[in-house]
């Protein structure tokens, strides 16, 4: 039996976290089908059909799937699941919302946020804010899994030639309805897939001071992140939060500015390739994980860094 990956998309674009979930599914050694559910989601289905390693795309078009409401998408996945050994989705807020509902309706456990595949029934997953890695084996007939995007390389978005098949849809349950979205508009790279991330913490002091980080981010083509403290204080929106209970990132370069390095923050960024910390407190725990640290006042260091980056360009 093959694995089914639930694709995630927004505004006709495939979320790249789906490509990591496809790679995780390929590691199971079975074939991989992908479900694209939505309204007018033909472009996404076509994009998935050319992803390397995809056997078949299942397209489910309905008004009921216009927004990924868990109450309405879960029954569709449950209807398809019996033909599969595994059902996987990215461990994004969408996947985390829908998949446990699927698992419950199938009366199976969910294996959350996997970072490794040992065998078709055995997986690695972080627990306790990533301070412990558990190896877990599932005894269920269908394995329902969410996949941590940073732990698997993205499947190539070309080279495949899968057929797109239309599948039967399910009725809307009417249990919940979409009212509106307040999404953060940005021209910067998306936080979880950016190559460079510049994050600010409580030390930034206020929203205005984040302009100092924006300047650096612009010069590096980086995404901007934040600690919980910076989000709680209202300096930046919630979708900037990196950590155990926010987003997990693992860029080539992570620059933590005015962030102390609490366990919960480290959980979201300690797999970055290179970590830089700028903090005025030389005892700050962030320095224990940083490859390069500057002990100093960020309000002095950031303008200097900005000037040095200009020099690099010229």
């Amino acid at each position: 039996m093959s694995a089914l990956v639930v694709a995630e998309h927004l505004d006709n674009k495939l979320n790249p976290a789906t490509l990591a979930a496809i790679t995780a599914a390929q590691a199971l050694g079975t074939g991989v089908d992908v479900l694209v559910a939505g309204l007018d989601c033909g472009a996404v289905a076509e994009a998935v059909a050319v992803v390397d390693g995809v056997n078949k795309v299942l397209r489910a078009e309905s008004e009921a799937y216009a927004h990924p409401l868990a109450e309405d998408i879960a029954p569709l996945i449950v209807q398809l699941a019996p033909s599969y050994s595994h059902v996987l989705a990215p461990a994004t807020t969408t996947g985390k919302n829908i998949m446990p509902r699927v698992a419950a309706l199938l009366d199976v456990a969910q294996i959350s946020d996997i970072i490794g595949v040992e065998s078709p029934d055995t997986f690695l997953r972080p627990i306790y804010a990533g301070n412990v890695i558990a190896t877990v084996r599932s005894s269920d007939p269908i394995k329902v899994i969410t996949v941590r995007g940073t732990a698997f390389a993205a499947a190539s978005s070309h080279g495949g030639s899968a057929d797109v098949e239309t599948v039967d849809t399910t009725e809307s349950t009417g249990l919940s309805s979409f009212v509106r979205a307040d999404f953060t508009a940005s021209d910067r790279p998306e936080l979880t897939s950016a190559e460079i991330v510049v994050s600010g913490g409580r030390g930034m002091g206020n929203t205005d001071n984040f302009k100092l980080l924006e300047e650096i981010a612009d010069k590096l083509g980086a995404a901007i992140g934040a600690s919980r403290a910076a989000v709680d204080a209202g300096f930046v929106p919630n979708d900037y939060q990196v950590g155990q209970t926010g987003k997990v990132v693992a860029p080539k370069l992570y620059i933590a500015v005015g962030i102390s390095g609490a366990i919960q923050h480290l959980a979201g960024m300690k797999d970055s390739q290179i970590i830089v910390a700028i903090n005025k407190d030389e005892e700050a725990p962030i320095f224990q994980v940083a490859d390069y640290g500057i002990v100093g006042d960020l309000f002095e260091v950031l303008p200097q860094l900005s000037a040095e980056l200009d020099k690099l360009k010229s």
């Binding site: 199976v108 084996r137 979205a181 919630n238 970590i275 020099k311 690099l312």
Partner: protein, 249 residues
């Protein structure tokens, strides 16, 4: 309306968890235990709904060892009216917990269930979604704001792209995110009062729920540790290192 809140006893968030020497599990002997922080937020929200006159009774439920009573007492001290302990020494995984909560809901018939989005020990982020599915109820996960209006509740959800607002038909399950509220400190007189509030005990057997684990933990290990690197004197040196040594810019 009546609200049910779920409270889990977990290793305190300030403790850095470690695997036991034999890799069989996580070291919990002599470790500080607390209420899961997201559940504190759920309790706080329920108490605020009662203070606002929206709720008239709040029941808290906890599942696990006898010491979960302490967690329930904390909830009672925060303003919950009544506690239910489902006592067991068995290992409880989210699917089993969800089945127990479903059984409690069928007895208690609340209109709203509030609980944390994630337990900070297993980091599973499953339980609320699971029992919402069992009951065929609506769910509002990762809530940063909720407004009850008649037969529905409007909930703002913290999602990857920003904030999403949904309208849920009651009865509903809502899981809390960090920005929903700031839990109150418990005052001493309330701790004393909480000792007199009712706390019932049940077992999974009495509720007729099979809690057998579906996942076997084969081993637990510590992740690869990062080495602390070097301190550089200034931004010029940093940029030099990033360009020439690390080659990341």
């Amino acid at each position: 309306m009546k609200i049910l809140v779920c409270v889990k006893r977990v290793v305190d968030y300030n403790v850095k968890a470690r695997p036991k020497a034999d890799g069989s599990g996580v070291e919990t002997a002599n470790v500080k235990m607390s209420m899961n922080p997201f559940d504190e937020i759920a309790v706080e929200e329920s108490v605020r709904l009662k203070e606002a006159g929206t709720a008239d009774e709040i029941v808290a439920v906890s599942m696990g060892v006898a010491q979960c009573q302490e967690t329930l007492r904390t909830a009672l001290a925060m303003g919950v009216d009544r506690g239910i302990l489902i006592e067991t020494d068995a290992e409880l995984q989210p699917l089993a917990v969800a089945k127990l909560i479903k059984a409690v809901i069928e007895k208690e018939k609340p209109q709203l269930v509030l609980l944390g989005k994630q337990a900070i020990d297993d980091d599973a982020n499953q339980t609320g979604q699971m029992f919402a599915a069992f009951l065929g109820w609506s769910q509002g996960t990762f809530a940063s704001k909720l407004t009850v209006a008649g037969e529905s509740v409007e909930v703002a959800r913290e999602v990857d792209a920003g904030t999403e607002i949904l309208s849920l038909q009651l009865p509903a399950v809502i899981t809390t995110d960090l920005r929903l509220n700031e839990p109150r400190y418990v005052k001493l007189p309330n701790i004393m009062k909480a000792k007199k509030k009712p706390l019932d005990k049940l077992t999974p057997e009495e509720l007729g729920v099979d809690v057998s684990p579906r996942l076997t933990v084969l081993k637990v290990t510590e992740p690869a540790q990062r080495e602390a690197g070097i301190k550089v004197a200034n931004a010029a040196e940093l940029v030099g290192k990033l360009k020439n040594e690390a080659q990341v810019i």
